[in-house]
């Protein structure tokens, strides 16, 4: 399946780096979550906010699958956050903004193209040597591992299952006994 933002080689670097950050990230599709964020505007509606009120995993319709349309203001915010301001005056009312796409391109370049072939210790050393990018990547890796699967990660709820978390439980919810007992 083609990626929304990453070239194949770059995707492989991100996938390998995420696996070092969170073992199991590859199987959970964490790189797909990040690709979905950076390429959010390649679909309509953009993949920013999943719909509601239910996912269908515990009853009800699969509303999460239909992403919520953005307003003009929402789009301005999220395009700027993802693409950067790029000299567009409307996006620079408080100054230039470096977007996530640029930060990822720079981060991938810093980890270098042979990252996937290096041994784990070398991979970890490279991640440690770029703490700002690694911090960003880890934030997104956590979201991709434990966020709703509709965003591309947490494939088949594997992240939640690994920690015995039921995830979104509406409209089923929990019984009073499940709340109050050990």
């Amino acid at each position: 399946m083609p990626h929304l933002f990453f070239a194949d080689d770059d995707y492989a670097v991100i996938e390998a780096a995420c696996e070092r950050l969170i073992p199991g990230a590859t199987d959970a599709g964490v790189a797909d979550y990040i690709d979905g964020l950076l390429g959010a505007f390649s679909t309509e509606p953009p993949r920013i906010w999943a719909g509601g009120p239910f996912s269908g995993r515990h009853g009800g319709d699969a509303g999460f699958a239909s992403f919520i349309p953005l307003t003009r203001m929402d789009e301005l915010a999220w395009r700027t956050r993802i693409e950067g301001s790029g000299g567009i005056p409307e996006r620079e009312f408080n100054g230039p903004v470096v977007g996530l796409q640029e930060r990822y391109c720079e981060g991938i370049a810093a980890l270098r193209g042979d990252f996937t072939t290096r041994d784990p210790d070398e991979q970890d050393a490279r991640l440690h040597s770029h703490p700002d990018f690694t911090a960003l990547l880890y934030e997104h890796a956590c979201e991709g591992m434990y966020g709703a699967p509709e965003y591309g990660g947490n494939r088949s709820s594997s992240g939640w299952r690994a920690i015995d978390f039921e995830g979104d439980v509406q409209p089923l919810g929990y019984t009073d006994a499940e709340v109050s007992r050990p």
Partner: protein, 550 residues
């Protein structure tokens, strides 16, 4: 202005009295179908990414930043971005709150005369009493739908009747902490909660999904402002305009004539009005007054947050904090100074101090938890063992924050919002009162945790000036309880609004949010601000007496 708990309550009262109302809301509408207000949008969900990472309820800190500094030595500002943002959406802060809705106690309305002054603080009595507000508290509880046990809290003020609903199911962790607190002589009780324990007001009972604090309720079991907004809109006399930013209240000869607003396309319009009700929250309300050129010297002054003391314990067993209404038990003992607290206050050079309501709580969100652990091979084991979620429980005390003249909201000199208007700048630093009280009560809360067979305990506060900006704990208060920036009083020289929320200088502008609070108490502000909004709106409509219970 504003469709949150205060604005929606006022709209409900005014439309019921036959008034025509336009509700301006700068945020988006994710709540109800404007063409048929009886239908819901269905946008709320159990989705951690959407609600806690991607600003779904707004405001987006890129479009609408705020700035922060501790004092003038920080320069124009020390931080730009998300500064204590409360939802900017139809329903306002009522959408994301987990719905703890306590009343204030009697002494909360006269702290100055009851306990005496504190150096460098602007303590004052409210221009009304608990008895004045009690009927409106009762009305607010019916309006929002509050579940509670009227006889369970020995520190509670007298009530004219029971809660509309009984309490919901206690969370397992709360049964442990409540037991430990009782063994030390404290008095935990079921938190008065705006979440249905039984079907109420046409909404279903809460089913304990756990996505409560910071989320919109997918089944509308939570007492968000849906009911009053629906009722107002269904009269046909209210119009709700989301995504409209009111940029100025027009004033002529000491009376408001209407507002200028920017619509969703960026076009500016003027709306005329006989009265203006301002319920934009204790940051945006003074911002709009200042943008409008109003010049009362106390506008924006006396900004208060609750000073949070967090005392948490690592437990040997799992307590599943993700099941239930986020907080089901609280205790109020630390709102009442006792011999031990008096000694600590004197040791700190203070005549007295007190804390606030203590929420028995845990952490429920796995993404938030994951980000707390280091990356690497140990990550998966940390998440499975879950010392910071599944096996953590403790307390958040919403400590009283004293009003200080120097703590304020004003207009930032350089930073603008997306529409080109100056953003709110918050200048805020803690008083010795909050720091000393927190240190004292943090120790006492930790004593309770030791009675829960804790493996470890930790105490921290929010704000904490020693932490960097941008972290969860930082110099910026985390508490979403924001108050005090258009202080209420009888004397125009010491207050911004009169006892009914009317601006002394422009009496047909009524403030119907927590801006009017004189002191912060140690209780969440929502029920009190709704009660005040009901009282102010009823006075505006020509009668102060609430309707009889049907």
């Amino acid at each position: 202005m504003g469709s949150g708990p205060g604005g929606s309550a006022a709209a409900d009262v005014l439309t019921a009295a036959g008034w025509s109302v336009v509700i301006f809301e700068k945020g988006r509408n994710h709540l109800l179908d404007l063409a048929d207000p009886s239908r819901l949008k269905g946008d709320y969900s159990n989705d951690e990414i959407k609600f806690t990472v991607r600003h779904f309820l707004g405001p987006d800190p890129f479009l609408e930043p705020r700035t922060f500094r501790r004092n003038q030595s920080d320069g124009d500002h020390a931080f730009v971005g998300d500064v204590n943002n409360v939802p900017s959406t139809v329903g306002g802060g009522g959408v994301h709150a987990d719905g703890k809705l306590p009343r204030f106690r009697e002494d909360d309305f006269h702290m100055h005369s009851e306990h005496g002054p504190i150096d460098a603080a602007a303590l004052a009595d409210w221009p009304l009493t608990y008895d004045d507000l009690e009927p409106f508290y009762a009305e607010a509880e019916r309006l929002v739908g509050v579940a509670g046990d009227a006889g369970a809290n020995p520190f509670a003020a007298p009530r004219s009747g029971p809660y509309p609903m009984p309490p919901g199911a206690p969370m397992y962790g709360a049964t442990l902490s409540a037991g430990a607190a009782q063994r030390l002589g404290y008095h935990p009780y079921p938190a008065p909660t705006g979440a249905n324990s039984v079907p109420y007001g046409g909404r279903p009972a809460c089913n304990n999904c756990g996505f409560c604090a910071f989320y919109g309720c997918p089944i509308h079991a939570k007492g968000d402002p849906l009911a009053p907004l629906q009722r107002a809109l269904l009269t046909g006399r209210a119009e709700l305009r989301p995504e409209t930013f009111v940029s100025k209240i027009n004033v002529n000869n000491g009376m408001a004539t209407g507002v200028d607003y920017v619509d969703t396309h960026g076009a500016t319009h003027t709306e005329t009005a006989r009265h203006v009700v301002l319920a934009a929250g204790a940051v945006e309300t003074p911002r709009l007054l200042l943008l409008s050129g109003l010049e009362h010297p106390l506008i924006g002054r006396h900004l208060m947050f609750h000073f949070q003391t967090l005392a948490m314990a690592g437990l040997r067993e799992r307590v599943h904090p993700h099941r239930g209404r986020s907080v089901t038990h609280v205790h109020d003992d630390h709102l009442v100074p006792d011999e031990r607290s008096q000694r600590a206050a004197h040791d700190a050079g203070l005549p007295w101090f007190r804390g606030g309501m203590v929420e028995h709580c845990g952490a429920s969100a796995p993404i938030q938890e994951a980000k707390l652990y280091p990356w690497g091979n140990a990550h998966a084991r940390s998440m499975r063992e879950s010392p910071l979620r599944e096996r953590m429980w403790g307390f958040t005390m919403q400590g009283e924050d004293l009003p200080q003249w120097t703590n304020r909201v004003d207009l930032d000199p350089t930073v603008r919002d997306v529409r080109g208007f100056p953003v709110a700048r918050i200048t805020y630093d803690s008083h010795r009162f909050e720091l000393a009280a927190s240190a004292h009560y943090g120790e006492r809360l930790t004593e309770i945790l030791h009675g829960m067979d804790a493996e470890w305990t930790v105490t921290t506060t929010s704000p904490d000036a020693s932490f960097p900006y941008g972290d969860f704990i930082s110099p910026i208060p985390q508490s979403k309880h924001v108050m005090g920036t258009a202080r209420m009083g009888a004397d125009p020289s010491t207050s911004v609004v009169d006892p009914y929320g009317r601006l002394h200088d422009v009496p047909n502008i009524v403030v119907a949010d927590s801006s009017v609070f004189v002191t912060s108490s140690g209780y969440g502000p929502t029920l009190t601000l709704v009660a005040l909004a009901l009282r102010a709106a009823r006075a505006l409509a020509g009668g102060e007496t609430p309707p009889a219970i049907e």
